[in-house]
Subunit: 185 residues, 2 copies
């Protein structure tokens, strides 16, 4: 057994929480790796809502899903802070990859304000034992501000309603991502 | 699926890492709960080394093991920093519960210096993928100093030889324990 890196651990948890038929969110679809995983986990009877502000991300993800003949995903070219316009049902899980689009424009980054707004809008829909995974890349300019804002916000979530877990490797030189998981009690 | 509390997560990991025949360490036997788990995991062909500085802990653990007819444990009434006098073989896993003995004298606490000395003496024997779990209770006087010392020490372990994971709930009022796991690469 090897300890899972943060991104892998978020997937380990999603696989345990998400069941066929669920509604889930990929808040930052990027190149579509997590979207694909979620689409497979919820199955034909489930629904994935995907958000990204970059056309290239939506295109790459569309291509990836088509290659797997998956049509249970709604992709939205808009910021995840607008999630309330699209989410009307109970939510089993959501995942955020915070930072910039890998192999994309590194100046386009997620920010603490809109990330927190998106999480706040998802929390009322979160099912018991449902989770929101925040995989936080913070080695880039602006990344540390977002990390600090997300930590501060999640640390104040009321413990009678939520458990907030922090999972990170602390002896690494190259600031690997850290994971914060919010679970509805 | 519910996220495991820190102590439970340390047990989840031990169950994945420890196999029959292994040598393992309970560095703070206390009331013997972890000692019993380890003795069951390593089986008749394995060996558990247990340490505690309090006679009451050694007695309670002896009673617990006898009730389960387990005789694969060597209990030592001495500080875990003396582990090098007893450990001569490859080590699959070790666990520390840092703080005071539950239902015991709360003024007798583990301390950063001796905890770190014990870990340093165990590391050369740790097998590839072997783990050292440090379950850190730090709500008591002196606890925060030990927590900080252990964090500082483990964060500097060379990443080419070890991965160091931090696992903790960050929105809890009553300072639940945090877990640090060192895994040999």
């Amino acid at each position: 057994m090897k300890l899972s890196p943060a991104l892998q651990y978020s997937h380990d948890l999603l696989k345990q929480v998400v069941t066929p038929g669920d509604t889930v969110i990929d808040a930052t679809v990027g190149n579509g790796h997590d979207t694909l995983l979620l689409a497979q986990l919820v199955g034909k009877g489930g629904h994935v809502l995907g958000f990204d502000i970059q056309t290239s991300a939506i295109k790459a993800t569309t291509t990836r899903l088509e290659a797997e003949h998956l049509n249970n995903v709604s992709l939205h070219l808009t910021g995840h802070q607008n999630v309330d316009q699209y989410l009307n049902e109970p939510l089993a899980a959501a995942i955020f990859n915070l930072g910039y689009l890998p192999s994309g424009d590194k100046s386009i980054i997620t920010t603490g304000n809109t990330t927190i707004e998106a999480v706040e809008k998802m929390l009322p829909n979160l099912k018991p034992n449902g989770i929101i995974c925040l995989v936080i890349y913070y080695g880039h300019p602006g990344g540390d501000n977002e990390r600090a804002a997300v930590e501060k916000f999640t640390a104040t979530l009321p413990q009678q309603n939520f458990n907030v877990l922090e999972y990170q490797f602390i002896n690494q030189v190259n600031t690997p991502p850290k994971l914060i998981v919010i679970q509805k009690r």
